[in-house]
């Protein structure tokens, strides 16, 4: 299972790439592996606002339909439209294929996210 060093993570198996006040959010390799083949992704609208813990996207796999939860308070800047027609991209490379690009409204929340090492330990417990 792949975990990238420079990303932040959540216990809900999302990854977050922070670039200043902008962040990219996707689901982790662990998540895509457990979901199996992804067949549909439902994404939010741009400019939609979310607070931490809100469900902002839905990922359908052959096994289950799963909500994806927002790790930070933010506003959607862009969604990865490519996934609408090619949801399998998430299976192929979950870290390259982000779901949403957001503008953070409370940068202090970054502190509460897991780093790569912490996330790896968390996944080991989950297995």
């Amino acid at each position: 299972m792949k975990i990238l060093k420079d990303l932040k993570y959540t216990k809900e198996h999302e990854w977050i790439r922070i670039e200043g006040e902008i962040a990219f959010i996707g689901i982790t390799d662990f998540a895509q592996e457990h979901l199996g083949d992804i067949v549909f992704v439902e994404l939010p609208e741009t400019e939609e606002e979310f607070v931490e813990g809100d469900s902002f996207a839905v990922v359908d796999s052959v096994k289950a339909t799963s909500d994806v939860y927002m790790p930070l308070d933010c506003e959607i800047v862009a969604v990865n439209e490519e996934l609408i027609d090619a949801p399998e991209l998430i299976n192929e490379d979950p870290y390259e294929n982000w779901l949403v690009k957001v503008k953070l409204t409370d940068e202090e929340q970054i502190e509460s996210l897991l780093n790569a090492k912490e996330y790896e330990e968390f996944c080991a417990e989950e297995e």
């Binding site: 083949d37 067949v39 549909f40 096994k63 289950a64 949801p87 399998e88």
Partner: protein, 486 residues
């Protein structure tokens, strides 16, 4: 031998027919002078051209590929695929039931109205609720109806801010879906280490926004929520109501009643608990029962009795209205009614006892070979995990497919979501020890196959008309109907 059958369209031979029509004696009449050309077909319909025997063989072959509880063991967890006694079918076909017209004058269908009224009373006795509607056509329809009643109740109290429905993380997917359908917001609460609702989490979740807690008891892991009275108190204190999903009612008949546990609204699935046919899109029946304070909100008509006469009461100003035309799937209600009368109180109690006994018997055998994440006495079903087998090279999906080779309908898999590689087994009460032993033996055999050579399992099924279907392509780019080649 694998026999790949053609679609009936692909069997078509130009000019071949299975009928002969008399000559058209409407000569000299142009259809187009009677019908607008918009309604007239410009081209011949592309129907298969086949002989009668081709049609009969084609559909007979297809029907023989069906698998139902009449063909074999069907341990589909959370669905209660119990055997449907055929006498129920006979009763439902009595002409007074089967030939009655829904709009007949009420005086001429007193027997049918009496049956609905009587069924309502029996369901009240079984569940501890105060009144039922038999209109909803399925379990999820019952959920929707029940939540509409809850919404109407809160609104009538001026409580328009109650928009949250709390569901445990092991809930049936229909619960949050039903809540969303009528504009409620779903709030999920976690299970504790014993697989039950975390009471502390519930306390922290209820608020002045809580419309209801939706729960099934025993829960989706087949475990009884033994803190249900405390949970009811927490929700009621916060001003919310308790909704009981009757999916698992087969475990508690004559033993415990949702009404006594504090539930305010519930639905039952007659096609699960009361032995009417299940699946294939119905017809099902999902009666909804409520406590007294919610009776005014029940769908109309409600069958009432005045002296010796039964009538349909529609003068109910607070009613949520109709949820199904006429009185729901009446024929299904008749079958369940026949089942309840045939079983009697003692029979229904035995039903649940045997359902629970059978589940525990299988669980005890299988836990030696498959992981059992919540190892405790279960009710009517239990959830194994295929995690051990997954590490050996075959997933739960593979195990399920392999069971088809051994002529079993696979159990529910990958549900509930809180168990990895979940295998959810519900044997039901009608299965004898021989059937259970044979199934257990097969499950053990598959576990050994996985251990020795997972490939035999990952390629399954090998004995069916079609092998492993491409679920990904089917989900991403489904072809839903035959189309002629251009």
């Amino acid at each position: 031998m694998r026999e790949q059958k053609k679609l009936i369209f692909e069997m078509s031979t130009p000019g071949r027919v299975g009928f002969s029509l008399p000559e058209d004696d409407f000569t000299g009449i142009e259809v187009s002078s009677y019908l607008n050309s918009d309604y007239l077909r410009q081209e011949e319909p592309n129907l298969p051209e086949v002989s009668e025997v081709d049609v009969v063989r084609h559909f007979t072959t297809l029907s023989s590929r069906n698998f139902g509880v009449d063909s074999g063991f069907y341990p589909l967890g959370s669905c209660t695929m119990k055997y449907n006694p055929k006498v129920n079918e006979d009763v439902a076909r009595y002409s007074g039931f089967a030939l009655a017209h829904p709009f007949q004058p009420q005086e001429t269908v007193q027997g049918n109205l009496k049956l609905i009224h009587w069924m309502d009373q029996m369901l009240q006795e079984i569940t501890g609720m105060d009144r039922f509607t038999l209109q909803p056509a399925a379990g999820a329809h019952g959920e929707l109806t029940g939540l509409m009643i809850i919404k109407a109740f809160h609104r009538n109290n001026g409580d328009t801010e109650r928009i949250e429905v709390i569901v445990p993380d092991s809930a049936h997917g229909t619960n949050p879906a039903s809540a969303a359908m009528i504009g409620f917001k779903t709030v999920e609460i976690p299970s504790n280490a014993r697989g039950l609702v975390d009471l502390e989490a519930l306390k922290n979740t209820v608020s002045e926004k809580t419309a209801a807690l939706m729960l099934t008891n025993p829960n989706t892991l087949g475990l009884f929520e033994n803190e249900i009275l405390e949970m009811a108190e927490v929700v009621h204190k916060a001003g919310g109501l308790l909704y009981y999903d009757g999916a698992n009612a087969n475990a508690i008949l004559g033993k415990a009643r949702p009404g006594d546990m504090g539930f305010d609204v519930l639905h039952l699935n007659l096609h699960k608990t009361f032995a009417t046919p299940h699946g294939g899109g119905g017809p099902g029946s999902g009666p909804v029962g409520v406590k007294t304070e919610l009776i005014p909100f029940l769908p109309v008509p409600v069958i009432e009795k005045l002296d010796d006469r039964y009538y349909m009461d529609v003068e109910r100003p607070l009613s949520i209205g109709k949820v199904k035309n006429c009185y729901g799937n009446f024929g299904v209600v008749v079958k369940a009614f026949a089942y309840i009368l045939a079983m009697g109180a003692e029979g229904l109690r035995l039903t649940s006892e045997d359902a629970v006994l059978n589940a525990n018997y299988l669980k005890e055998i299988l836990k030696e070979y498959y992981e059992l994440p919540y190892d405790q006495v279960c009710k009517h079903e239990f959830v194994l995990s295929g995690s051990k087998q997954k590490k050996q090279g075959a997933s739960t999906l593979d195990i399920a497919k392999r069971l088809i080779d051994y002529k079993y309908h696979p159990p529910t898999i990958y549900f509930p979501l809180i168990v990895k590689e979940a295998i959810m087994i519900e044997p039901t009460e009608t299965e004898g020890k021989e059937t259970l032993d044979a199934f257990a033996e097969t499950m053990v055999k598959i576990a050994k196959e996985v251990e020795q050579n997972p490939d035999t399992v990952t390629d399954a099924p090998l004995t069916t008309a079609v092998g492993r279907l491409d679920e990904v392509t089917a989900a991403r780019t489904p072809i839903l109907k035959w189309q002629p080649e251009d």
